[in-house]
């Protein structure tokens, strides 16, 4: 059914259709409408919505609900996202699928509650301590706020990991018409078929795309943030530590092509604009519908893992690569890692809470 939805509403509806039946959060601008939509619609779909006392409790309670077998999510913005970092690391270490939606506003600190930027890109990768497998998706319009929510849940369930979906104030509050399907398809975890006595929660054969148990089924599960063995109990033995770290890394390394998701427009043109999220809105004005344009465009739908190899190939021999982002150059830094000295890099940034305009890009060029 066609609806005029804001990005936040589309995200919440997508999560409900994908089977999310537990939402815990602490409302914060500009993500509040997600919690609002969940509060009024989750009970009607047989799920639970809880407004928690803070973001620390929100992330931990969705991990708990997911460990009990329920697809779970939270939504927040910068300050709340900072508070959730420890919990995100815990979700990764315990391999508990969760969806965290971060609707970016201006930072640092409480910053600009009602204005959008894209300053949390690096935080989604490095915000929680340790070498954590990070998966971050980013939506450019209301349609993608819907479709990438579904995909985030699918990835989280398949890989047994937290997935972060980045929206920003622009996408969250703009309304566009989208076609809401009656149902969506996502991977749903399967119960293991072993005898509960023989079940090992972190067995090598169940790293991703494989059945695993949840609390309440009668299987023995031990969850801890401490580095642990296959049975979930803590270890200090080097070999077992190496095993756990490799296991986490394999979730990403083995699934790179599944995770990679970029939009490519006119890659044959001399110069390329790289962007993501709402940064693509002004960028596409320069690329689409202009046959004379000297610019192609690459847009990251999946930001982490970063598509280093694909971009290296696509950017080889380009004269100029322009990175359009509403931060001070977070993706630009990644692009510099894979381009040679022959390619000039130009960053177009804006951090005052307004969307970069097409004219600003034209002038900078």
């Amino acid at each position: 059914m066609k609806k005029l939805f804001s990005g936040n509403e589309a995200c919440a509806e997508a999560a409900l259709l994908a089977g999310v039946r537990f939402f815990a959060g602490y409302p914060i601008t500009p993500s509040t409408e997600i919690a609002e939509y969940m509060a009024s619609n989750m009970p009607k779909r047989g799920g639970k919505f809880i407004q928690m006392e803070d973001e620390l409790a929100s992330i931990i309670s969705i991990i708990g609900a997911s460990a009990a077998g329920v697809k779970s999510m939270t939504a927040t913005s910068g300050p709340g996202f900072s508070l959730m970092q420890e919990g995100i690391g815990y979700a990764a270490m315990t391999e508990t699928p969760t969806l965290i939606v971060n609707v970016m506003r201006g930072g640092p600190s409480t910053g600009l509650p009602t204005k959008g930027t894209q300053q949390d890109v690096m935080q989604t990768k490095w915000g929680s301590h340790g070498d954590r497998p990070s998966i971050t998706l980013s939506a450019e319009n209301v349609k993608e706020a819907f479709s990438l929510t579904v995909r985030s849940i699918d990835i989280a369930e398949r890989l047994r990991l937290p997935v972060i979906l980045l929206l920003d104030e622009f996408i969250a509050h703009m309304r566009e018409v989208i076609d809401i399907p009656e149902r969506v398809t996502v991977y749903s975890r399967q119960k293991p078929d072993e005898d509960p006595q023989e079940y090992v929660h972190y067995d090598d054969k169940r790293n991703y795309n494989a059945p695993y148990a949840w609390f309440g089924l009668g299987y023995k599960i031990h969850l801890t943030g401490l580095t642990h063995r296959k049975d979930g109990f803590p270890t200090n033995k080097e070999e077992e530590i190496r095993w756990k770290m490799k296991r986490l890394r394999k979730k990403i390394d083995d699934n790179l092509s599944f995770l990679e998701d970029i939009e490519i427009i006119h890659p044959e043109r001399d110069n390329i604009i790289i962007t993501f999220g709402s940064g693509s809105r002004p960028s596409k004005e320069l690329v689409e519908g202009d046959e004379q344009s000297k610019f192609g465009l690459i847009r990251l739908r999946t930001i982490w893992p970063f598509p280093y190899n694909t971009l290296e190939t696509l950017l080889k021999g380009k004269k100029l690569v322009v990175v359009v982002e509403m931060n001070e150059g977070q993706i630009e830094g990644e692009v510099k890692k894979i381009t040679s000295d022959k390619t000039s890099i130009l960053g177009i940034h804006r951090v005052d809470g307004e969307l970069i305009s097409p004219d600003e890009i034209r002038e900078a060029l």
Partner: protein, 184 residues
């Protein structure tokens, strides 16, 4: 065809709702691409409020109005803040109750008594936004009356549908009256 509509006024006048109704009329019932945005946050509380709709047959990338084709001013503050951000063919429509002061200064603003009509005929000033939408549709033809009426009845509480339909018709009448006075 890309049309940019900017609706300005004061918080509480239903400016954002008016934008949503235009977007739904065009996007859901006339099959156009639409993007609706609004000024959000402290600046929209009590002070100047702004809602924008972009309507196009092509995909819409940049979501904000840069040079509106239609500027609606439902309060003096809306006029004061936005009347200069226009192009030479912008259709400017204002509420005469709030913009009466500039009547002699701004000959090309179409001043219509939205608030006055809402109060006199429907007993409440809050219908002024719907009356305005009726007038805007009639004057600019950017959205059709059919689609507008469908969008209005989908968005307003059921017990107020009749009054809102009446409000649309009042707006159309105001526009027709203005047109007949200005066709020469």
């Amino acid at each position: 065809m890309r049309k940019e509509i900017r609706i300005t006024g004061t918080g509480g006048q239903g400016i954002i709702l008016a934008g949503i109704i235009v977007a739904e009329a065009s996007g859901l019932f006339e099959g156009k691409n639409v993007v609706q945005t609004q000024a959000y946050g402290p600046e929209a509380r009590g002070g100047a409020s702004r809602s924008e709709v972009i309507i196009s047959d092509e995909p819409i990338y940049f979501p904000h109005a840069t040079n509106p084709d239609v500027l609606i001013m439902m309060s003096f503050e809306g006029y004061y803040k936005f009347h200069s951000h226009i192009h030479k063919n912008t259709v400017k429509i204002g509420d005469s109750f709030f913009l009466g002061l500039v009547q002699d200064l701004e000959k090309d603003i179409i001043l219509l008594p939205f608030t006055e009509t809402a109060r006199k005929v429907l007993g409440k000033a809050l219908f002024s936004n719907i009356i305005m939408l009726g007038a805007m549709s009639k004057i600019t033809n950017i959205i059709g009356i059919e689609a507008l009426k469908k969008a209005v009845s989908d968005r307003v509480p059921e017990r107020y549908i009749n009054e809102n339909m009446k409000a649309v018709d009042l707006g159309i009448e105001l526009a027709e009256k203005w047109k007949s006075e200005h066709s020469s």
